[in-house]
Amino acid sequence: MASFRYALRDTFRLLFRHWGLSILTLLTAASVLYILGFASLFAMNMKYMISRIEGALVVQAYMKRGETTDKALELVHSSPLVSTVNVITPDEALDRLRAKLGNQAQAITLLGENPLPWSLEIQVQKVEHITPLVRDLMVLPSVEEVLYAGKLVERLANLSRTSAAVSGVILMLTLLISTLVIFNTIRIAIYSRKEEIEVMVLIGATPTYISLPFVFQGMFLGAGGAAIAIIGLWSTYASAVEMIRSTLAFVDIIVDPRILGQFFLFLFGAGATTGWMCSWLAVHRFTSQGMRSR
């Protein structure tokens, strides 16, 4: 307990002794984490939008005259790509047509016998699953025609892949930058206390005791940077939501406070963990060298 108190005291000594460097690191960490948060929010929203569109995408498979949906249903049920399937009987299809035609529904009576075939309405889990499913359905002899939003499906799949890749790259880059910034700040702090650490090693301080203030310093800088970034992201995101709602009301974006809260909590944890890991790495190398007898 006493060691923890001393470590905490030394952490604040370190932070205030090099206050200029501390502020600079804090701001750099905040900027980098802001970019990281922004990229993640963008990716999350893209994924959210795509999943909403995906949810609405339906593959319609029409059977040949006189054929039922049994074979096609068998195939659809055996596929892990399908989330839901509805069987539309010719009577249900006719009812729908009537509803669609409204005032002109009387015209249907001219058809005499119901000419509409059996059909299936299939929803898949992901946009990428549509094309292989369509291919499988087309080869069935009982299937006359399969309708789906082909181009849209391909574009969505491409967009989904590209946005995931771009946000992944941004994520990696920002993580690398924040790691390097915090790592170097701690290294400078270590060098400024080099003499002190050497004496500590000689008088019998354990590596943990020597490392703790630096590890805490890294955690404070990482967590502090994340807190600043979260405040910035919160206000930016709130304005963006406001703007999108007033101009592009049809665009679906994440507004659930629970999801956003979890995301910001994750960002805060990521900042603190990055700070902790970087400082531990920097100081561990130094103390283990000091502990080695020549």
Binding site: A2, S3, R5, V199, M200, I203, G204, S293
Partner: protein, 231 residues
């Protein structure tokens, strides 16, 4: 704690032999002067005991610990039992006298109240009570030496090593430091003092080990002489 060295050789790269085949046995509570010219191996010998260096050949044991087999996780705990006064003091320039002494106890995780009382007690013992809030650059050489001694003795080590503790000090201050070291030894601590201050060695007669070119040249106990490391 007793110290045993057998056949200890220390070679630094490239081929600089600092110590060669040294045999030394120091009993618990003994006071030993380590003398010899500059480069004779005095500091190396002390650093081998404090386990800053590992011997190239030979064995060193302090108490029941074989220093060669000491694991790095055990090293901090071993070093707490060995108080060292470094030739260049190694005082922290930004810390006050009190902080320089107290931080040894803090590093051991001792509660603040105990740290304060014990540090004050030792600072008083070395005669620096009035200067406890000054920093090393504000102190004289003798005072800095006393801070270094206070820091080395604050955790009551079993072995006390002092490297040239009276170097560059005037006669009166040297005698004060010497009396301090003798008082530490009187409390049962094993003390080894590396020095080339002949006046000190003659005035306060204790066991004398002389090193020459890294070898034991003589080992004199209460007037008896042992030549070439023969014990």
């Amino acid at each position: 704690m007793d110290i045993r060295m057998s056949g200890v050789t220390k070679v630094f790269e490239p081929e600089i032999v600092a110590l060669e085949d040294v045999y030394l046995s120091v009993d618990s509570g003994e006071f030993v002067y380590l003398i010899g010219m500059t480069g004779s191996g005095k500091t190396t010998l002390l650093r081998l005991i404090s386990r800053e260096y590992l011997p190239t050949r030979g064995q060193i044991s302090v108490g029941d610990r074989n220093l060669r087999k000491l694991r790095s996780s055990e090293l901090p705990y071993y070093r707490r039992e060995v108080g060292v006064v470094f030739q260049d003091f190694k005082l922290l320039q930004n810390y006050t006298v009190f902080e320089n002494v107290a931080f040894v106890l803090e590093a051991m995780g001792i509660p603040p109240k105990l740290v304060e009382s014990r540090s004050n007690e030792v600072i008083d013992q070395v005669g620096l009570w009035r200067r406890r809030f000054l920093r090393p650059p504000q102190l004289s050489g003798g005072e800095q030496q006393r801070v270094a001694i206070a820091r080395a003795m604050v955790n009551s080590p079993s072995v006390f090593l002092a490297d040239e503790p009276t170097g560059n000090l005037d006669l009166r201050t040297s005698e004060e430091i010497m009396r301090l070291l003798l008082s530490i030894n009187a409390a049962g601590t094993t003390v080894i003092v590396a020095t080339h201050d002949q006046h000190l060695v003659d005035s306060y007669r204790q066991r004398l080990v002389e090193l020459h070119n890294g070898r034991t040249k003589r080992d004199e106990r209460r007037g008896r002489y042992f030549i070439d490391g023969e014990l």
